[in-house]
Symmetry: C2
Subunit: 208 residues, 2 copies
Amino acid sequence: MTETRNGKGLLIVVSAPSGAGKTSLCQELTRTLPNLTHSISYTTRAPRNGEVNGKDYWFVSVETFEKMVAERAFAEWARVHQNLYGTALATLDDMRNKGKDVILDIDTQGAMQLREKMPDGAYIFILPPSMEILEERLRKRQSDREDEIQRRMAKAREEIAAYSSYDYIVVNEEFQTALAELKAIVTAEKCKVAYINNSWVDTTFLGG
Amino acid sequence: MTETRNGKGLLIVVSAPSGAGKTSLCQELTRTLPNLTHSISYTTRAPRNGEVNGKDYWFVSVETFEKMVAERAFAEWARVHQNLYGTALATLDDMRNKGKDVILDIDTQGAMQLREKMPDGAYIFILPPSMEILEERLRKRQSDREDEIQRRMAKAREEIAAYSSYDYIVVNEEFQTALAELKAIVTAEKCKVAYINNSWVDTTFLGG
């Protein structure tokens, strides 16, 4: 018998208001945890310079996308700025069944949609330390006009209001601390009894 | 306003078969996590050399203990080798309300009793890597007679059978890895939305 301790891979879902530092945190997390990878989304938008089909996204036509929606192929999907984006259920299941941990970086609406289909995921919301700091960060990193910043701040407030529907809250005050908390969540989730391979326990300890 | 992010303290409950290394792991965990402390149990057994009342245990008479049982003062209690041991609900509540994280090191029966009263705790089961290694460890560390070792092995099998009632499984194959997993569980539990202070979120982000 070559039973392994761990069963299927984790599903980690991360949401945050724009400016909370989600992208950098998720990138560093997947860089340092080799078993954790981003799922590849489907999109109807055109590839940007250097983007590769099957690596950055699966680039599909509006017709293909809509057919997938009709066939309920998506775990979650959304329209963002005239384009469609979606995560296929099959992509998530395939990766997890191979024992790969998957991370998804989606907005609160997508996350709540996904939660209905995949309640065994770990749903994490990243908060900035305060609204003042969020505004500072938005001003620093973007050359947006004032009305665009105000629009993002209003949107942030709206997203933060959904925080209590998540399992975990990580406050990104200090990058390394927030990263350590995300890693701890991944490690702890791996230890959850739901992720242990029952037949490993049975054969190893219970003589079954 | 001086709202803090974290609300009340955690309750961490650890069970393991004898020989799995629970005591060393819990000691090292409380040594390295200053906010995590053992709760002080009540017992009817006599103090051993050097044991201090109110530090190692609260030493009480059988009458006092039985009165506390009748008054439903205990979160869990058990008879072990003619002596009574119990954890008072008030002790746990007091420590957690002060923001202290509490760790309890109890058997599977006590843990399942406690779970009914305090379902918000993190219930952790520590497994040895295999039954063979458990037996080796029992033989190495004890000068027990063969029948005593066999009794402990049978008891271990019985306790391990309860593993699926816990939230987390930590396999103590390598001490430092198991310790890191326990620390990750504590960190992750602290990030759970249930442990964040709602009024901190409201005042900081939602203008409430």
